[in-house]
Symmetry: C2
DNA sequence: TAATTATATAAATATACACTTATATATTCA
DNA sequence: TGAATATATAAGTGTATATTTATATAATTA
């Protein structure tokens, strides 16, 4: 097998994180874009702590990276992660979620600082 | 995007099932082989009901198929499943688990009926 | 046909997980 | 510098999930 493999325990841990609709949708959204916490709060109609806690789990495994810009913290998928090649084929099979961001833009609540 | 997509909710449900070390290892094992319940019990050092319940969940989503041969029921990944193309790239990135079956053969507890 | 072996299912229990509530920290702006 | 905004964290709570215990079903074999 030429393909890179990933330790079983690690793989299960990552898949468990992806096995949540909110986190999975988050990852798909920020695979090629960037979102801040308050945008997620609006998109998922969830509380701010709930969103923060989901992001924390993704960050703990190094799957996402954050970048502060003023008062906002923007999240995106960490394509430098050693597990990116593991999750990328999964994300690629998910339906595009850009309509969710389009909705924010329409409502004028999309944050595009700088 | 040319790739087939899968509904978000369904994808999360499947990934949640894969996000368990026992089930993930099971799937990897039976992607190209066939195993019966008692073999899993020995491989994972788990109780028989525990193994049966894991298999039930995989079967409920159609990810595995079963075939009775005498007193044994053999399980294998259902490559006819509409979700097989979703899980296959994941399984392909996992380390080979054949050593687990080799171990059974060495101990003489591998079931190879017929 | 009775005993044995393999598997499934149901109920009970213990643990893991997501979400809420409350609070802390950090940045911006008046 | 004080108020407002954005985010994080900690503690508490409720729900989901895995595992055990107990029992049922099905096939085999003596």
């Amino acid at each position: 097998m030429l393909q890179t493999t990933i330790e079983m325990e690690k793989a299960a841990g990552i898949l468990k994180l992806l096995g949540d609709k909110t986190r999975l949708t988050m990852l798909k959204l920020i695979d090629e874009q960037t979102c801040c916490v308050c945008e997620f709060v609006e998109i998922f109609q969830s509380s701010q702590p709930s969103i923060s806690q989901h992001l924390r789990k993704l960050k703990d495994l190094g799957l996402v990276k954050e970048e502060r810009k003023g008062q906002w913290i923007f999240y995106s998928v960490n394509n430098k992660s050693e597990y990116y090649s593991f999750i990328k084929p999964i994300l690629d099979q998910l339906p595009d979620q850009d309509d969710k961001l389009k909705e924010l833009e329409k409502k004028g609540t999309r944050i595009s600082c700088c």
